[in-house]
């Protein structure tokens, strides 16, 4: 059941639906009073988290098999948009994915989490091998 005041989106693990998720980010961001620029930032951050689920959460399964959906929760609060992107995939050790936020990753790949941290005002990555991943991103309206 959805928490009061929370909008939930369950999206198949397929890149074709990420643009729809961005539409919801736009709508919920506007409701939370975010500026267009802040909404643009959250569109990228949330898309990156969805792309990660699609690319990494169910990597071990053979292709063609149906994977579990991405669960996205939007909590609009006064002057703040909080978005959770959750999967029940294989998870990872966030500490072992070295995130040197002082400079961007120099090689191809490894950009997703970096961009998320740069674009959201606050980020929490909850994950562990075998127990799925939850990325919580918050953007505040007034800064």
């Amino acid at each position: 059941m959805a928490e009061a005041g929370v909008l939930e989106l369950k999206v198949p693990c397929d890149p074709r639906y990420i643009s729809v998720v961005r539409l919801v980010v736009a709508g919920m961001g506007a409701q939370a009073g975010l500026t267009v620029d802040d909404i643009d930032d959250m569109k990228v951050a949330v898309s990156e988290a969805c792309t990660n689920t699609i690319d990494h959460a169910f990597a071990a399964e053979e292709s063609g098999s149906v994977s579990e959906p991405i669960l996205i929760r939007f909590s609009p609060r006064p002057a703040e948009l909080r978005v959770e992107v959750e999967d029940v995939g294989q998870g990872f050790e966030p500490d072992r994915v070295q995130l040197d936020l002082s400079q961007p990753p120099s090689v191809e790949g490894g950009l997703g989490l970096y961009l998320i941290h740069q674009l959201a005002d606050s980020v929490q990555v909850q994950s562990a091998p075998g127990s799925g991943t939850k990325v919580i991103m918050t953007k505040r309206a007034a800064r």
């Binding site: 643009d40 930032d41 990228v44």
Partner: protein, 127 residues
């Protein structure tokens, strides 16, 4: 997303993209880029003037394209004005690497210069 491809002066491949470049649409551009390299074209201009959205997937493809072009003595330049798209280049520190320019003329001149330099280098190397 829409892709339009032109060749200018027999050496420059120009991609004009429009719409959104994400994990669903960007791979289509990646294929077009791969075909260009297959045809030994290594000077590439990517016009993102009509692109409203990019993320790390597009960035990875552009970085891969630039790397491949450089390895083969060519180069890649990006044209982009939209603030939200520029921001992704800025925070990822890829603006220099991808030769991000404000307009197409600037990008084309930059690639012309790089090509003249590469040809001069090859000439010296060949002597």
């Amino acid at each position: 997303m829409k892709i339009q491809t032109e060749t200018e002066g027999d050496w420059l491949t120009v991609f004009s993209l429009s719409g959104e470049l994400d994990a669903y649409t960007a791979p289509q551009f990646q294929e077009s880029l791969a075909e260009t390299f297959d045809r030994d074209l290594v000077w590439i201009l990517v016009d993102l003037g009509q692109v409203e959205y990019i993320d790390s997937v597009a960035l990875g493809i552009l970085l891969g394209g630039a790397k491949r072009a450089n390895e083969r003595d060519g180069d890649l330049a990006v044209v982009c004005q939209r603030a939200n798209v520029l921001k992704v280049f800025d925070i990822s520190g890829t603006r220099e690497l991808l030769n991000v320019c404000e307009d197409r003329g600037q990008a084309q001149r930059l690639l012309e210069q790089r090509r003249a330099m590469a040809m001069a280098r090859n000439k010296r190397g060949g002597q």
